[in-house]
Amino acid sequence: MRLTLNGRPVDVDPPGETTLLDFLRDHRGLTGTKRGCDRAECGTCTVLLDGAPVYSCRTLVHRCAGRAVETIEGLGTVDAPHLLQEAFVAEDATQCGFCTPGQIMAAVAVLARDADPTDEQIIAGLSGNLCRCGTHPKIVRAVRRAAAAMRTASHG
């Protein structure tokens, strides 16, 4: 089977039971996607499948055949961070940081749907991503900030 991983085609043939999370972390060494619960209850493993947020812990790799998977590693780099990543730093929207990649991937999906989301839309879009440090207010602010920056960038 072939899937697209962060923009690049990848040919793989893992056992049927291999989850996307196992594949990313244990086969590909992409440890930015976190394993918080392994049972679709926390959101730390959120990645995008054809642009939609999914919990990679309960998504089989085979389900991704012919589809595009995007992980936090595909988003930005330290030298060229994504506007969401910059906004998360600017708003201090990380505490322990373990939920952060999942929050950001969920936020990418929110902003892809709506360039100028309301707080309610942001909250709804991130409501499947838990945070135990209680960073929620700053995460929502960061997404709002990134949305504004992305609108400016696309108009500028």
Binding site: P15, E17, L130
Partner: protein
């Protein structure tokens, strides 16, 4: 998780043939099946993908205004499907499912066929569905359990869309190599509290090919409410769907209260349909609706919640 093969069928026939072989199970989004495999109440040697089979992946509006929803259509898609704009109760129920990721992963068929979330069932302890006797929840921890007992199991079915489909008189098209059958959504969950292998009547080789909504169920007044502890990412303590059809008839259903979606007594629906209700009569009919409730020691609050939800539904869909 124990090993299994993954089969992406080339056609519906291919899928059905694969499912006819022992050890095969259909997979939708996978969130419930993979949990079941891990927890040990499902042990497929092969899973068969359904969501990309054309017949299962599409929503079709019929000439008469009825709608056929493929069983593999994603919940997230349904939540916003323009084809369902005349069925807002279903869109609202789909929007209420889990979280954005669970909605993006989950399919309608998978959601309807998901297993109970009961913690005894999931822990495989004190549960007749796992070879035990009776239901440990009855004298145990059952705050989330059913208040309308219909058999041994006291779990409350977790599906939100099922509740909306019930008030829409949806029919479920089920297919296997042995043929096709149409079931009322109510019939899909017949015996849910006694069935061991599943909460639905689906045989191991059967799949939900489509859900059909009749044109007569379009528009009118439609209402949805889901009562939860958390503001999101939670199962219903009680959910309520209500419709008043354009012909004036009323249907009310609850989720979170029984082993499957639960339909209010017809006399209650008829009273709501007859209209002209004041606060007092609405209160009385809500109380009548839950008259047969048999709550356990620790979940009688759900009766209050159910009545509140029915009152609100009655008010919103009243003339």
């Amino acid at each position: 998780m124990t090993g299994f093969a993954y089969h992406r069928p080339s056609s519906l026939d291919d899928a059905l043939a694969a499912l006819a072989e022992p050890g095969s199970l259909p997979i939708g989004g996978g969130s419930d099946l993979l949990a079941g495999i891990e927890e040990g109440h499902a042990a497929p040697t092969r899973v068969v993908e359904l969501e990309r089979i054309p017949e299962l992946a599409t929503i079709t509006t019929q000439a008469d205004g009825g709608v056929r929803i493929g069983g593999g259509v994603g919940i997230a898609l349904l939540a916003e499907a323009p084809e369902l704009s005349a069925f807002p109760v279903l869109r609202a129920a789909c929007t209420a499912v889990g979280s954005p990721a669970l909605r993006a992963m989950g399919t309608l068929g998978g959601n309807l066929a998901q297993r109970q979330r009961c913690w005894y069932f999931r822990s495989r302890v004190g549960c007749f569905k796992h070879g035990g006797t009776g239901c440990a929840a009855v004298d145990g921890e059952h705050v989330y359990h059913a208040i309308f007992a219909s058999g041994t199991c006291h779990a409350a079915h977790p599906s939100d869309p099922a509740v909306a489909l019930l008030v829409l008189d949806a029919r479920v098209e089920v297919r296997s190599v042995r043929g096709t059958r149409m079931l009322d959504i109510e019939a899909l969950y017949e015996g849910a509290a006694e069935n061991v292998r599943s909460e639905t009547v689906l045989a191991g080789d059967e799949v939900i090919v489509a859900v059909h909504l009749d044109a007569a169920a379009r528009d009118g007044a439609q209402h949805w409410e889901k009562l939860t502890q958390r503001g999101a990412f939670d199962l219903a303590l009680v959910s309520c769907a209500g419709v008043r059809r354009t012909d004036g008839s009323v249907r009310i259903a609850l989720g979170g209260v029984a082993a499957g979606p639960w339909r209010a007594p017809h006399s209650v629906e008829e009273d709501i349909a007859s209209g002209g209700l004041d606060e007092e009569s609405i209160e009385a009919l809500a109380a009548r609706a839950t008259y047969d409730a048999t709550p356990l020691a620790g979940n009688a609050y759900k009766v209050q919640m159910a009545e509140a939800a029915i009152r609100r539904a009655a008010k919103t869909i009243a003339n």
